[in-house]
């Protein structure tokens, strides 16, 4: 498992690439830009990626992160890949519901179910 300090860890499983957010809060513009660069490069390295974004550690985020997820999804779908989000804290899930992003993203309760599907 490769770790890109201190923002995300990347795990290459049998049929999926799992990117886990390490930080509890994702707020800073600089952090979001760094995340974007790193995750886009992970997407570009794998043909038709099956990308799972694990939010298990995340307790707070801003709407800028939602924008980042939209940009990530566009890149993944352009390359005929798949994107799944998992382990989203209930308070943050509420943010996805309010913005109706629950309708655009495939969201799983936990990493196990995201990996299995």
């Amino acid at each position: 498992m490769a770790e890109i300090k201190p923002r995300i860890s990347v795990e290459y499983a049998e049929n999926a690439t799992i990117v886990s957010f390490v930080d509890e809060n994702i707020l800073e513009e600089m952090d979001i830009r760094a995340l974007q660069e790193t995750i886009m490069s992970v997407i570009d390295q794998t043909e038709r990626i099956n990308l799972i974004l694990d939010f298990g550690n995340v307790r707070f985020l801003s709407s800028a992160v939602l924008g980042l997820l939209i940009r990530i999804s566009k890149r993944v779908y352009e390359q005929d890949g798949q994107l799944k989000l998992c382990s989203i804290n209930p308070k943050i899930y509420e943010v996805f519901k309010i913005t109706r992003l629950t309708k655009t993203f495939d969201i799983y309760n936990d990493l196990e179910s995201a990996t299995r599907d």
Binding site: E29, S62, G67, I70, T99
Partner: protein, 141 residues
């Protein structure tokens, strides 16, 4: 208080407000809501209001009483018409990266009011579960 037009400048203010809310017994839900709304209002003020101009400032004023918090965030920009902001939940807007800040502020705060110029927003959130008054406590006992 006035802070600079950088996206990280709100950190200390946010931390101070969250700590005061916690001390006053506001719930975790309240803290999450206020933190999110304040963050979004501040980002809007810096990015859209002051256009990241380091010579401009953002003013943040707040008051906390037993059942509510009121926060005003004002920038030095030309202002905007909040009614003209497209709904990010509709049609193609759903796939646009931006435009969700105002929606989140309105969803998590009980009152969100802009001044006429549109460069200052006042937000109020009432405590999730107000503390019981002595009278009500006696009645419930």
């Amino acid at each position: 208080m006035a802070v600079g037009s950088t996206l990280s400048a709100s950190e200390d203010v946010c931390r101070g407000i969250m700590s005061r809310l916690e001390d006053c017994g506001f719930s975790r839900e309240d803290l999450f809501a206020v933190h999110l709304a304040l963050q979004e209002a501040f980002i809007n003020a810096v990015r859209h209001g002051n256009k990241m101009d380091l010579n401009r400032q953002v003013k943040i004023e707040y008051s906390i009483d037993s059942d509510k918090i009121e926060i005003t965030v004002a920038d030095e920009g030309d202002g905007f018409d909040p009614q003209a902001v497209p709904d990010p939940r509709c049609g193609e807007n759903l796939y646009k990266p931006g435009g969700r800040g105002l929606l989140l502020m309105c969803s998590y705060m009980d009152v969100v009011e802009h001044n006429q110029q549109g460069n200052s927003v006042c937000m109020v959130r009432h405590r999730e579960r107000p503390p019981l008054t002595e009278d009500l406590r006696r009645k419930q006992a």
